[in-house]
Subunit: 315 residues, 2 copies
């Protein structure tokens, strides 16, 4: 049986974990990982794409295992020197990581698209599958909070998600089109996999890109999501806090409600098996398995289980 | 007796040595160091100003003592990561040094002039005297060689000064005006000091900036130069090779000929005392002393001797 061709949709740390599992389970030409760029920000004049880089470093085997982002063994000498020069340095940029941002910024200034730049960077790091930004246009996630509108990194990193979320907005999304490889993959993919990323601020921006939501609503093959909420809390990041502040149920059922009409099966952790019925009420199957991915084995195992679900679906 | 107010004109390594001596010998408000920016180049999208940085690092006590440029104890992790990403990395940029270029580029992009950026950087590094670019406009030194025209860093660093020099050109100089602090210093300074920098490609670009040559020709106070050629060769860099290829005498007399009409006294090393008459034939005094500056003591001693020459001149 030929392997399914998969379009994976990913944010940062959680997305990178499943993306690595899928990359180990599929032939490179059968996997395209589309990554959120709503979190992108300019720091020190450099174009930083945190989610693209988390996925890229994971697939290149470079990820700092202690954080899930950044480069293993990185140092912060340039950032310390920037601080000495009076720059704001609350966003951690390592010396090895900086090379990526410097290279990206230079190639963008040379006229390359973010897709082309990402292909260039991932190729040099030995990544064989396609890692692509959701769009080559600028979409910026804005956290609408009780202290006003905040750029996402300002909310997430500088303020540590402290302000209360009133809503989330994706500036520029209505005039942004999917990147060429994303648009292509929406046509050729046999299945869509939502990685266990924050549904609001990691998957949300991707769905907000013009035409994406309707393309996924009308997608022919199975659409499988992995819940980033396990046992009533996010594995990592502010998804739980944000859902709570928005009055949503902080559970895999809350995730299912977010994906209503966009998803055929939600993969949930064994600890959440009691929620299966609630998920099925949202018009999708629930698949119960082990979803925590700490080791590479766990990442590949979950990816292979998803590939098996897709195989069964199409047979 | 009040100290003279000095306008020092400097290139990179040699200029930085005497600039440090002058900074240790004068009150900060009595010294302005004007620095060549004809060597500036964009690397990886970052605005690198090698001579400004050599002077800045010297005055901040940061200079790598092994090279005379760059930052002591610097590492090259970002550059190595850039190489891995496919960037050309023949121009050495350390991790600490990169912070300067990143900061400069970001502040320029924010709309600050190179003068303002340099003031901001030097202030944060604790430098009290004024370090200013020769111009806020873009002037680019072009080495005209037997293998064609080469951007200066291409000639100097990438090709190791290997091509034969046919001439030197300063693109943009005819529409570039002196930076505000340079123009001011040409009015208030009691004396001009040419640091022992390459007369063709370090001092030459500064003299080529619109109006500078005539302002110095008509300058009221003494104009003192220190010869960068000692015992028939350059202390550092390609000045000797370039002068030879241009058919000039590689000696302090050759330097005097270059400064004819722009200089009242040339400070030469004791080893060159035989050349005094040749220098005086160029219409300037010769002052014989120890000019090699390896230690900080030697830098300060030479600076104080120059200050004494100026004091005697004006009395």
């Amino acid at each position: 049986m030929p392997q399914p061709k998969i379009l994976a949709i990913a944010g940062g740390v959680g997305g990178a974990k499943l993306a690595l599992g899928l990359a180990r389970s599929l032939l490179p030409q059968d996997l395209t990982v589309v990554v959120n760029t709503g979190d992108d920000e300019i720091f020190h004049g450099l174009h930083v794409s945190p989610d693209l880089d988390s996925v890229t470093y994971a697939l290149a085997g470079l990820t700092n295992p202690d954080t899930g982002w950044g480069v293993a063994g990185d140092s912060f000498r340039t950032l310390e020197a920037l601080r000495r020069l009076g720059a704001e340095t609350w966003f951690g940029l390592g010396d090895l990581d900086l090379a990526t941002h410097i290279r990206r910024t230079a190639l963008l200034a040379d006229g390359m698209s973010l897709s082309q730049v990402t292909a260039e960077i991932t190729r040099h790091l030995g990544i064989e599958c396609a890692v692509v930004p959701m769009t080559d246009a600028s979409v910026r996630t804005v956290a609408m909070t009780d202290v006003g509108d905040l750029a996402f990194q300002e909310y997430f990193v500088h303020r540590g998600c402290e302000p209360r979320i009133l809503g989330v907005r994706f500036d520029g999304a209505d005039t942004a089109y999917p990147s060429p490889a994303f648009a292509d993959a929406l046509h050729w993919a046999d299945a869509i996999v939502y990685c266990p990323s924050n549904p609001m601020v990691s998957i949300g921006p991707i769905l907000a890109v013009t035409g994406v939501r309707s393309a996924i609503e009308n997608f022919a093959g199975p659409r499988i999501a992995v819940s980033p909420i396990v046992a009533g809390q996010a594995i990592k990041g502010p998804a739980g806090k944000m859902m709570e502040e928005l009055g949503e149920e902080v559970s895999c059922v809350g995730v299912a409600r977010r994906y209503k009409g966009l998803c055929d099966a939600l993969v949930i952790d064994r600890i959440d098996r009691e929620h299966s019925a609630g998920i099925e009420d949202c018009g999708m199957q629930s698949v119960v398995t082990a979803t925590i991915m700490n080791t590479e084995y766990e990442k590949v195992r979950l990816a292979e289980e998803i590939v098996n679900i897709i195989d069964r679906w199409n047979s």
